[in-house]
Symmetry: C2
Subunit: 211 residues, 2 copies
């Protein structure tokens, strides 16, 4: 009797501003990797905050602690053969690089969109507008730092690319890096929600378009 | 080409007083499961506190939060095929049962030794003596509650059993529950430390006898 080959784990680490499209792409990638029969976990920033970091705030120290915890769990999963996807803002370069060192098999995906673009087109809760007006403070990209990666394995521009194009960029690169065999998208149409991010759902339980 | 069968994960959850022998047995079990070619992780109470719960104290609420975090991570590992061992005091029954519900494939091991026995024979740092003298407070089993499991899958008495006998009890039961095929101890002599608990080491890097 044969069994499917034991997969080697890796971590795909999304980083970018709130609203840049991290969760959308992470969800799409989650389903693509699952469709390949891989073990996949998705560690969403907000979900991890709820489960591992309740009580932490948004100071640099607390943000770093939160990211270190995600890195600790991602490492445990990765070394046990799980394709692990993280999507937290993770604004500070140093602690991202610390996670890279810890995990080893680490693919950093910089999800790029400008504050102006997000505030104008992707701000349903009006948080960017409030932050830009000074009504809320400590908002990443507005009055709190975001340090973009200097040499990410993958860079996607969600202002010029459709999500499916960004996904293809990611799959192509994962194939080139040897983490997947085939970069063809396998999942068609609206995806059923993984339950692992806070993306909006349609009434049928599918992921809503946009945020 | 054949591959080893994909294992189903489970969690072995040690609970008991500080000094009861949880870490010693967890270390021994870790090596036994590894020797069977299984994927194994050991989540030690103190190590997890360092990585996931820095800043938490020892109130009931903080202890429960710490245990919930161990449960969250144990669940992630278990559902990905990892034999997961936890060894935190985990004094409260309700939150242990919450973890049991979450994880499903859950084997609770109650490591039994009385405060008197530990204070007399296994208290190298003198913590029990200080707690009994009222010099430190909030100490589990002395002036802070320990709620023993009512129906643990496994019960070991480390006052009457040698560690190797307790280990055999655990392996026999894991075999009976279908989590391992063979309960024969495979690892002989002093074990090399996993690095995952705070057990003392000999100069050669082996686990020291006793605590």
């Amino acid at each position: 009797m044969t069994h499917p080959p034991e997969r080697t784990g890796f971590t795909v680490w999304f980083t970018g501003l709130s609203g840049s499209g991290k969760s959308t792409l992470a969800e799409m990638l989650y389903h693509e990797l699952q469709a390949r029969g891989m073990k996949v976990e998705l560690l969403d920033g907000d979900v991890v905050r709820q489960n591992l970091s309740k009580g932490l705030g948004f100071s640099k120290e607390d943000r770093d602690t939160n990211i270190r915890r995600i890195g600790f769990v991602a490492d445990l999963l990765t070394r046990n053969g799980v394709a692990t996807i993280t999507c937290a803002i993770s604004p500070y370069r140093e602690v991202r690089d610390e996670c890279r060192q810890l995990i080893g098999r680490f693919v950093e995906v910089y999800v790029y969109a400008t504050v102006e673009e997000i505030a104008e087109h992707r701000d349903p809760k009006g948080l960017y507008k409030k932050a830009l007006a000074g009504e809320i403070t400590g908002f990443t990209g507005v009055d709190d730092p975001y340090e973009p990666p200097e040499q990410p394995e993958i860079w996607v521009d969600t202002m010029t690319q459709e999500p499916i194009e960004s996904l293809q960029t990611i799959l192509d690169r994962l194939r080139d890096l040897g983490y997947i065999d085939d970069a063809t998208t396998l999942v068609e149409g609206p995806k059923v929600h993984s339950g692992m991010t806070d993306l909006r759902l349609t009434e049928s339980g599918h992921v809503a378009e946009g945020r």
